[in-house]
Amino acid sequence: MRFVALLRKELRESLPWLLLAGLLLLAVGTLALRAHVPNTGVRYWQYRRGMAPGETIDTWRLLSPAKLDLPALWLSFIAPGLGLVLGVRHFWVPLFTRTWAFLLHRSVSRLTILGAKLGAMVLAFVLSVGIIWTGLYWYACRPGLFPIAEPVYVLVNGWFYIVMGMVVYLGTALSALSTTRWYTSRIFGLVFALLATLMLLSLWRPVWLLAMTALVLAMLLAQTTSAFLSREF
């Protein structure tokens, strides 16, 4: 009940950004899928209209299979961007609006308050870019629509960007919660998130990638939790 109230509040505060990110990805994805510009330069509707009677879709097999390349590129910016914005909204804005005191005097533990913020963040990612990315992938793989199904790694790759968004969120939270100066350790959270993202992007062995991602997330989570629990407001 109390957790739900907190979660609702955090989600509602994330809503505009969640919608913005989701709609942006949806727009880019739709454009890419519907108005796909293949190597031949033939547009999707031309391709449909231009099919001669009796011609099969196999004729067009030579069209580029990577229909989600462009949306994936966008997602690699949208997801960290959403992480940054949500981190600012959840941990920074209350410092300016001075609502921390009101929020923290709830009949719940501080951990619950943090949990609600993190929960809202994960939900925000899943409900916007997560669902839409999966939807785009599913759409692109529908049999009969496109010549070649997208490989699964395209889907996984998108979700990897989403997890990177969460890394950026935690880094932003850490910087927001720091009480030191910018030019000393306050910048650390953001820098760490950025470097970690770049490092992870450069890994290509799945096992390493998985292990390092888990490590980075665990480190950031532990730091953020301890900073939140001990911070003075």
Partner: protein, 309 residues
Amino acid sequence: MAEIVLETKGLTKYYGAQPALDHLDLRIPRGCICGFLGRNGAGKTTAIKMMLGLLEPTAGSASLLGCDSTDLTPAIRQRIGYVTEGHRLFRWMTIARLEKFQQAFFPEQWDEKFFADMIEYFELSKKQKIKHLSNGQRAQVSLALALAPNPELLIMDDPTLGLDAVIRRQFLEGMIELITRQGRTVLFSSHILADVERVADRIVVIDKGVLRADCSLEQFRASVRKVVLYFDDSVPADVELEGLLHCRRSERQLELTLVGVDEAEVAAWAKRAGTERYDFVEMNLEDQFIEFTAPPHRRRLFQWEEARP
């Protein structure tokens, strides 16, 4: 002896090398309205934030309803109302949504009718958004939110700062309303001495982080006094009276501000100093507060300087 609902023991907070609060010892019993006074920057907000576990004490401890402030359990918080400085609420929420949010944390004790009545009394509508309210209206919402769960202990950080007389009076009414219910306790900090005088039965005065007074309002009113002594020729150079706060002198008059000195002592000293003529000057609470907390006047702030020859 009533149960102690708010206690601090040597509560201290340093920012760098500066003490914002220095060894505050307080014991507030159940059932009183305690006015927490001090000039700007005296350490009131720091003390209140430590009581509510928002700041970590550098030394000492605070406890509310018997629970240490650094570790207030949800069950204890549920019995405490806190009105934050400046009545900062979530700006995007409507009053109705904020009510629902607040209610979720006081599930058993939320008085829906009381809240609705207050909102109506304040001529607000639950559909209004916080960001569209004036400062005063936001303060009213904040008061209603704090009172509707019927808290056992209500702590308010300068709730009437910058508010007009009507809304200030509503806060006082709210406090009286709460205190007339059995076993409620209020601690509020304020700059407005007249408000404090009306509703407080106990006052705590801190100055530069140091506790200066903790007594009943009547005791404070009776103990800070000003007396003017008239002398025939010259005013004595030294005043040997314990409890002397300030001393101003003119050619044949001596004005003393005293704390905790009774009339007999004044009379005895006056006789030794060579006069029997003296008058006590009545002071209101504000004057008493200023005399009590103002630094000793070595020189006037505004002094006409005669051109020196």
